[in-house]
């Protein structure tokens, strides 16, 4: 047998033990309740039609496209707008560049400025060239590209989209 535990130490240990259980019984529900929406969600994938190839004839011109994704957030369905630009690099319908219009800095939407031939972000004056590379401003990387795309038999361009 080891040293007999003193009455005082036994009380101390009991108080810590019971206190710990009570703390967990209050703390776990409280934290779980607050972080619930942060868990799960996302992961949905789909092929999304963004336009007809015949409507985008010019080479080197960014054609804007947009689509909406509907998500159930809590008790409500929320439609979020997404978009980007399609740029033909040659006559070959497979030889295209699809840029996402979401600025890589902090997520604002960039606009194409034809006279300067740049994508401008209105939030922090970032600019990207027609290939999506950063010219000026704070973005850490070029505009994201939708690398996975296909042209259907009817000539409709589709991109593969997966939620973060």
């Amino acid at each position: 047998m080891s040293e007999p535990i003193s009455r005082r130490d036994f009380m101390k240990a009991s108080v810590y033990f019971v206190g710990g259980i009570v703390g967990a019984a209050v703390g776990i529900p409280a934290v779980g309740y607050l972080i619930e929406p942060a868990l799960g969600g996302g992961g949905k994938e789909a092929w999304i039609p963004i336009g007809k190839m015949e409507d985008m004839p010019e080479i080197g011109k960014p054609y804007p496209f947009s689509f909406t994704r509907v998500q159930v957030n809590g008790w409500e369905r929320t439609a979020t707008s997404k978009g980007g630009f399609v740029i033909r690099k040659s006559e070959n319908p497979e030889d295209i560049l699809i840029l996402d219009s979401r600025c890589t800095h902090l997520g604002c939407t960039v606009n194409w400025k034809e006279d300067e031939r740049v994508f401008l972000c209105p939030c922090h004056d970032a600019s990207f060239d027609a290939e999506g590379a950063v010219i000026d401003g704070p973005p850490p990387r070029p505009l994201d590209r939708h690398a996975e795309f296909r042209v259907t038999e009817d000539g409709i361009l589709e991109i593969f989209y997966s939620e973060a």
Partner: protein
Amino acid sequence: MWKKIFAWLDERLGLNDLQKNLLERPEPKGNWWNTLGSASLFLFILQGATGIFLTVYYTPSPDHAYDSITYIMNDVAFGWLIRGIHHWGATLMVLVVFIHMLRVFVTASYKYPRELTWIIGIGLLIATLGMGFTGYLLPWNQRAFWATTVGTEIAGAVPFIGEFILKALRGGTDLSALTLQRFFSGHIWMLPLVLAGLIGAHLYLIIRHGESHWPTKED
């Protein structure tokens, strides 16, 4: 090290004096009936804590109120528990406050020098009932809607100014989004502030006067 930190804080905040005056007050004679005030205070804090958590998801709008509560009950982790505590705690608080008042009445504790404590206590009772009344509407279901229709109609029965009171409570002639919004504001801001202020005064007076003596045969 902790001793040093405590000494530094104590020198500036007077923690030891606080403990002596607040927690080591003489307890004249232990009696369970005398714990109902503390029980009411605990329930007030519990309602405050669970209520704050409910506002994370609850939306006071006719379009969303009911759906947001359904979401809390069915989808949020432990939402059923937090709303359940708030729901039953509300009923329990009215009950405990009432029994507390009954005890003070029966033991004649409201007499000199504690008249003000009693009067403030009446304010606390009314504010607690107000919390129950305003909170009842927030789920925006049939029961809530008609209970508030009836409740505001009763307030409207006051002679001369009844119609004005009814319109002021409803924010118009009928129950609407304005009613829900002002009941919500009253429920989470105005009445809790009134309650907190009155509780502060109530507690100060209790600490100042101590507990009343339990009546004896001679009384």
